[in-house]
Symmetry: C2
Subunit: 325 residues, 2 copies
Amino acid sequence: MRFATLPDGSPDGRLHLISRDNAFAVAAEACTTLQSLLENWDALIPHLEAQSSALNSGQAKTAFSFEPTSALAPLPRAWQWLDGSAFDSHGDLLASVFGFDAKQGNPDTILMYQGISDRFLAPTETAVFPREDDQIDFEGEFGVMVDKVPMGVSPEQAGRHIRLLVQINDWSLRAIGPHEMKTGFGVLRCKPRCSMAPVAVTPDELGASWRDYRLDIDLAVDFRGERFGAANGYAMSAGFDRLVAHAAYSRDLVAGTVIGSGTVSNATYREVGSSCIAERRGIEILDHGQASTPFMRNGEYVRMEARLPGGQPLFGAIDQTVSVL
Amino acid sequence: MRFATLPDGSPDGRLHLISRDNAFAVAAEACTTLQSLLENWDALIPHLEAQSSALNSGQAKTAFSFEPTSALAPLPRAWQWLDGSAFDSHGDLLASVFGFDAKQGNPDTILMYQGISDRFLAPTETAVFPREDDQIDFEGEFGVMVDKVPMGVSPEQAGRHIRLLVQINDWSLRAIGPHEMKTGFGVLRCKPRCSMAPVAVTPDELGASWRDYRLDIDLAVDFRGERFGAANGYAMSAGFDRLVAHAAYSRDLVAGTVIGSGTVSNATYREVGSSCIAERRGIEILDHGQASTPFMRNGEYVRMEARLPGGQPLFGAIDQTVSVL
C-alpha cells in the first residue's frame, strides 16, 4: 500500500491512498492522518487495504490524478525522529579523511541521534538556511516508520513494528558538525529540518527488494546537471530491525517515530557515487589531496529518487532548492 | 500566572489555572491545553489573566482544591525538548574527574542536545528503566517554554519569547553516557523521558528572582533521608535568552519548545550539595580518590522542589520512584 498526505490547511494534512503506479490518489476513508493510522494500525489497515484494492483496480469513484509536487511529507510532523548512520563506507571514508572514528573501534556500535521533527519539509519545499558559509549539504537516506514499540524489544520483535518505508533528505550544515560532535552533546545546529519524498509505502511494495530489513534499491541523486550518486540501500551494517531495537533500549517508541538509515553509501563509491557532498569531497581529498566540489550555494537544487529495480516509481522524488536567509 | 494540566483521558490533558498559593485550580476557559495557549499566547493571555485574577481573589465560582500529586506534566508532550548544560561548575567538576572538557577550551561554547519529548512523565509518576547496572541518576533542572521563535533571533529577541518557567527532572543512565558522547552523535539511550513539576509559571511569578533570564532560587533535592542539594539557579554561564537563541540558529522553534538549563550546580558544591548523584560522586573522587554514593536502586525515590525565597510554593514538587523492568 502507498500513502501520501495532501495539504488541507491543518498541520497534519489529509491522508490519501496512492495507486501502485503513483498516478492516482483517493482520500483515505478509515482515518484522516498518517499519525492516526500509525497509532491504530491493526484496526485500520483492513479497511485501507480494501480501499487500496479498489483504487488499484480502477474502482475508486472519488479517485483523482496524483500530483506528487503538491504533496506534503507523508508525515508532516512526528513526535520523534531518530537518525542512524548505518552505512559503514560513509563513516569509514569520513574517518580516514578527518581522523575521527565515531564507532570507537567497535564495528557493532550503532550510531544514532534525535533530530528535529516538529515539521518535515515537503518534497519540493525550498530549504532555508542561515548562510552559505555553514557548508550546506544534502544527505540522501531511507527511513522507516513504526507503530508503538515497547521498551526493551529484541531486533526480531522490533522488525514487526516497521509499518512504512520512506525516503528522506537529511539536510546538514557541515561547518558546524565537527565542533558539535567534539562536545559530546552531538549534532543540533548542524541538523536543520529534513524533507521526505511524497509517498510512504508498506514494505511489501518492494517485493524481494525489502530483505533483511534493508532496502535493496538504488537512491539516484542528481545535482549540478549530473548523476551525483546511485548508491544501494542494502549495505547497512545494521538493518532497520536493529536500529529500532537500539532506539527502544530505554524508551518505548511513540507510534509514528521515524528512524533513518543515515546517508546511503557503498564501498564502491568511486563507481556508484555519493548521496552527499561531504563524501565526494572526502574521496577528492583521498585521491587528490584536496576537495574540489563546493557545498551548495543559494539557489542550487538537488533531486533524489529511488525507484524499484524495474524502474517503476516508488517514493516519488525529493526536489529541493536552497535559499539563504 | 500559574498553570497545571490535569488528566482528562487525552494525551494533552486539560489546562487549569492555579492560584498563587498553589491551593486552588480552575479549568482554563480561553483554551483547553497548554500547547494551544503557547501557539496563540498574545490573543489568549488577556482572557486568562482576567480568569486568574478572579481565582486569586476568591471569585472563581468553579474553582476547586488543587491536588498537585494528581497533575500531569504541565506540557504532557512537546514537539521539541532541547536540553542545555549551562552550569559550568557541573561540567568543570565532571571534566576534572573524567578528563573530558565538553566545551573544548572555549568558555562561550553552548552545550545542547535534543531529547525525547513525545511524553513528559507526571511529577509523581514512577520512572521505569531497563536495569540498575545502567547507573540510574536524577538531574534537577530548570526550563523555559517558548512561543514560536523565528530562525536567527538575537538573544535579546529570544528572551521575549520565553513565556513560562518549569522545573524538570532529567533522568540519566550514567553507564551509557560516556560511550554515546565519544561517538560524537551524542546522548540518546542514556536519556530516558524527563518529568516536570506540576506547575508552570509566568516569569513575573518569580518577581526579582527572575533576572538576567535566570532563576535566582534554590532547587532543594531530597534523597535517602537527607537534603542532597540546594543549588541556586542563577549560576548559569549563559542565560535562557542565549540558550533559546542558540537553539534557533538554523531552525525556527515550534511553539511549546521546552529548553532546559542542564543540572543546577554551584561552584560551592561542597556547601550547597548537588542536583545529581554523578556530581556528588565526582566530588568524592576528588576528595577521597573514589566514589561512595551509589546510583539509584529499584524502589528508591527522589524529591525535588524549588520554592520562592520566602518559602512560598512555586512549581510544586517532583517526587518519583524508580522501577526496573
